[in-house]
C-alpha cells in the first residue's frame, strides 16, 4: 500500500473516531499504532505480514511513548499547571484582583478593567487560559454583578481576559507547540509577551469604549444604573492605594522569576517553573493562606490535568512519528507549491482554517492534530516558526470564546450565578472578538511585534 494513501486513510479513521466522541488521545494514539503496524507490514513487492510489522511498531511506540513521559524539560508542564492552582489556593489571585480594584475604581467600568488586568497578571503565573478564566471568573464575576454591572460586560470581560493565559508566558500551549516544532520554549515565551500586552491593552480599551457608549452597563456605587456621575466613584486615599499596591508583591515576584529569570538567562524555563512553584507554596504558607486542604486540592487537580494533557500529547507524538514515516506532508507541500499559491494566500487560508476549527475543537486537540501537517507547510514557505506559533496561539485564543465550543465561555457560565444564559455570555464576548481580530491582523502584518523580544534575547 502506498504510504501516503495509508496516511490519509489513517487520518480519516482518526477523524471519524473523533466525531464519534472517542477521546482525542485514544483517536490519535490508536490511529498511530495501527498506522505504524500497517506501514511496517506492507513492503513494496511483498505480501502484507502483520507479524513482521509488530516488532518495529512496538519498538517505536515503546521508545517514543516512554521517552515522552520520562522527560526532564517537560516537567515544566505540571509545574506551571501547579503554579496556577497553588496561586489560587494561596489567595494570590484574590489579592491581585482586590489591589487592581482599588487602582481602577475611578475609571468607567473599573471593576471590569480590574478583572481584565487581573487576568493579565494571573496569566503571567499560570499557563492555562481555562484556569485563568476559572480563577478570575469565580472572584470577579460575582463582584461585578453585585455592583450592578450588566451580565454581558461582567462575563464577557472575564471570558475574553482569560484567553490571555495562552499568550502571556508561561503558556502551556507554547510548550506543546515547542515540543511539536522543535522550537525554543524561551523564544516562544518571549514572543508572546508583546502580543499578549497588546491584547490586554485592547481589552481595556474595549471596556472603556463600551462603558462610554452604554454607561448603564457599568453603574457606579449608588447610581442604580444611570452611570452619568463618574465623580461619585468610591474614593480611596493614598494610604489605601499604597496598601493595595503591597498586595501585588507576590505576583510581581513570581513574574520576575518567570519572565525576568528566563529573559536574563538565569533560569531555564523548567527551572523557572520549579522555582516559581516553590515560591508560591512558600508565600502561601508564610502568609497563612495556603491550608493543607488547599494544597491537597491544588495538587490533586494539577495531577489529573497533567495526566490528561500528557496522554493527548503522547498520542499526538506517536501520530507525528507515523505521519513523518509516510512523508505525506512533504508530498502535500510539493503539490501546493506546484500550484503557485501566493504565500500570503496560504497564510490567510491557514488563519481561516484555524478560526473555523477553533469553533468546534479545544486548543490542545487542535494543536496536536494540525501541527504535523501545518509546520512543514509553513516552514516550506519560509515563514518563521516562532512568529507562526504566536499566530496559532492567538487563533486558539479566539477559538476559546467563539460559539459553539467556546471553552472559556462554558467555564464562566459554570462560575457565574445561575440564570445567566450562555447566549448572553457569547453576546458579551462579541465586542472583545472584534478587538481580538484587530490584534491578530497586527500580529500577522507586523511580525516584529512577536519577534522583537526574542531577537534581543539571542
Amino acid at each position: 500500500m502506498d504510504p501516503q494513501l495509508l496516511a490519509l486513510c489513517v487520518l480519516g479513521g482518526a477523524l471519524l473516531l473523533l466525531v464519534l466522541r472517542v477521546p482525542i488521545a485514544y483517536c490519535l494514539g490508536l490511529a498511530a499504532c495501527v498506522g505504524l503496524l500497517l506501514f511496517f507490514s506492507w513492503r513494496p513487492g511483498a505480501e502484507a505480514d502483520l507479524a513482521r510489522g509488530l516488532a518495529p511498531t512496538l519498538s517505536i511506540v515503546g521508545s517514543t511513548a516512554f521517552g515522552f513521559v520520562h522527560n526532564y524539560p517537560l516537567s515544566m508542564i505540571p509545574l506551571f499547571v501547579g503554579l496556577g492552582h497553588v496561586a489560587y489556593q494561596a489567595r494570590i489571585t484574590t489579592d491581585l484582583f482586590d489591589a487592581l480594584q482599588v487602582w481602577t475604581a475611578r475609571l468607567p467600568g473599573g471593576l471590569a478593567i480590574a478583572s481584565v488586568l487581573g487576568c493579565g497578571g494571573f496569566s503571567a503565573i499560570t499557563g492555562s487560559s481555562v484556569a485563568c478564566a476559572s480563577a478570575m471568573g469565580r472572584i470577579a464575576v460575582p463582584e461585578m454583578l453585585r455592583h450592578g454591572y450588566r451580565p454581558t460586560l461582567a462575563t464577557g470581560s472575564v471570558a475574553a481576559g482569560g484567553t490571555l493565559g495562552s499568550l502571556i508566558p508561561p503558556s502551556l500551549l507554547f510548550v506543546i507547540y515547542a515540543i511539536f516544532t522543535d522550537q525554543s520554549v524561551k523564544n516562544l515565551f518571549l514572543a508572546g509577551i508583546l502580543p499578549g500586552l497588546l491584547s490586554l491593552a485592547g481589552f481595556v480599551a474595549t471596556i472603556l469604549i463600551w462603558v462610554r457608549l452604554q454607561p448603564a452597563a457599568a453603574p457606579r456605587a449608588g447610581q442604580g444604573g444611570s452611570g452619568e456621575a463618574w465623580a461619585e466613584a468610591p474614593h480611596f486615599t493614598a494610604e489605601q492605594r499604597l496598601a493595595a499596591l503591597g498586595k501585588l508583591w507576590p505576583v510581581v515576584a513570581l513574574l520576575l522569576v518567570i519572565v525576568g529569570g528566563i529573559y536574563l538567562g538565569i533560569f531555564t524555563p523548567t527551572e523557572a517553573a520549579a522555582v516559581s512553584l516553590a515560591m508560591a507554596i512558600a508565600i502561601g504558607v508564610l502568609r497563612g493562606n495556603l491550608t493543607r486542604a488547599g494544597m491537597k486540592e491544588a495538587l490533586s487537580v494539577t495531577a489529573r490535568q497533567t495526566a490528561m494533557i500528557f496522554v493527548i500529547a503522547m498520542g499526538a507524538k506517536l501520530f507525528v512519528s507515523f505521519i513523518s514515516l509516510t512523508r505525506v506532508t512533504p508530498a502535500a507541500l510539493e503539490w501546493l507549491q506546484g500550484t503557485g499559491a501566493d504565500p500570503a494566500l496560504v497564510i490567510l487560508g491557514v488563519v481561516v482554517f484555524y478560526l473555523l476549527i477553533g469553533m468546534v475543537l479545544d486548543s490542545i486537540g487542535i494543536l496536536v492534530l494540525t501541527l504535523p501537517f501545518m509546520v512543514p507547510l509553513v516552514e516550506g514557505y519560509g515563514f518563521d516558526l516562532v512568529w507562526f506559533g504566536v499566530v496559532v496561539i492567538k487563533l486558539l485564543e479566539v477559538g476559546l470564546i467563539t460559539p459553539p465550543i467556546g471553552l472559556n465561555v462554558f467555564v464562566i457560565k459554570a462560575c457565574s450565578p445561575s440564570g445567566i444564559p450562555l447566549e448572553q455570555i457569547f453576546r458579551g464576548v462579541a465586542a472583545f472578538l472584534v478587538l481580538d481580530l484587530l490584534v491578530l491582523a497586527a500580529i500577522l502584518l507586523v511580525p516584529e511585534i512577536s519577534l522583537w523580544l526574542p531577537s534581543l534575547a539571542r
Binding site: 485514544y26 511506540v61 516512554f66 516537567s75 497533567t306
Partner: protein, 169 residues
C-alpha cells in the same frame, strides 16, 4: 471547581467510581510533583551558591515524571475526564451515546494495550540485561518501566470495567 470538568465530560455523564488504588495514584503524583519541584529548586540554589548540583537530577526528575503523569491516569479515566469532541453528537440519544461510550472504551483499551505490550517489551529487556542509566547513581531502568507498565495495566482494567458497565447500562 475543576475548570476542565466544568466544560463537560465526555462519554456518558456519570463519572465512574474509583478505587483506593486510583486515589492513591493521584496522591502519589501530587507528592512526586512537590519532590520534583524541590529537586529542581535545590539544584538552582546549590548551583548558584556552591557551584554544585544534585547528582543525576535530570534522571531523578524524569523518573518522578512517570509518577506525576501515569499515577492519576486510571482515576482520570474512571472519571471520564479525557477530552473528547462532543459538538457533533450533542443531540444524540441515550442509546447512541452509550454505544459511542463503549466505542471510546474499546479504542482506549486498544491504544493502551499497544502501549502496555510495548512497555512490557522494554521492561523485559531491561530486566534481562540489567540495563541502568548513565550517571553517578547508576539507577537501574526496570523500576520506572515496571511502574509505567503497572499504571497502564491499571488503566486498561478500569476501561474494561467501564466498558462492561456502559454495555449493561
Amino acid at each position: 471547581m475543576d475548570p476542565i470538568r466544568a466544560a463537560g465530560s465526555p462519554g456518558l455523564d456519570e463519572p465512574g467510581r474509583h478505587t483506593l488504588l486510583e486515589r492513591a495514584g493521584v496522591r502519589v503524583a501530587g507528592l512526586a510533583l512537590v519532590l520534583l519541584c524541590l529537586i529542581v529548586t535545590l539544584n538552582v540554589v546549590t548551583r548558584a551558591l556552591w557551584h554544585a548540583v544534585i547528582p543525576d537530577d535530570i534522571l531523578l526528575v524524569s523518573e518522578l515524571m512517570l509518577l506525576v503523569i501515569l499515577g492519576p491516569l486510571a482515576l482520570v479515566t474512571a472519571e471520564r475526564e479525557h477530552i473528547a469532541v462532543t459538538v457533533f453528537t450533542a443531540r444524540a440519544g441515550a442509546g447512541a451515546r452509550r454505544l459511542m461510550a463503549c466505542l471510546a472504551h474499546l479504542a482506549g483499551i486498544a491504544f493502551f494495550g499497544f502501549l502496555l505490550v510495548a512497555f512490557w517489551t522494554l521492561l523485559a529487556k531491561s530486566w534481562r540485561t540489567g540495563e541502568y542509566y548513565d550517571g553517578l547513581l547508576g539507577l537501574p531502568q526496570w523500576p520506572g518501566l515496571a511502574l509505567a507498565t503497572a499504571a497502564l495495566a491499571g488503566v486498561i482494567l478500569r476501561l474494561v470495567f467501564l466498558l462492561v458497565r456502559d454495555a449493561r447500562a
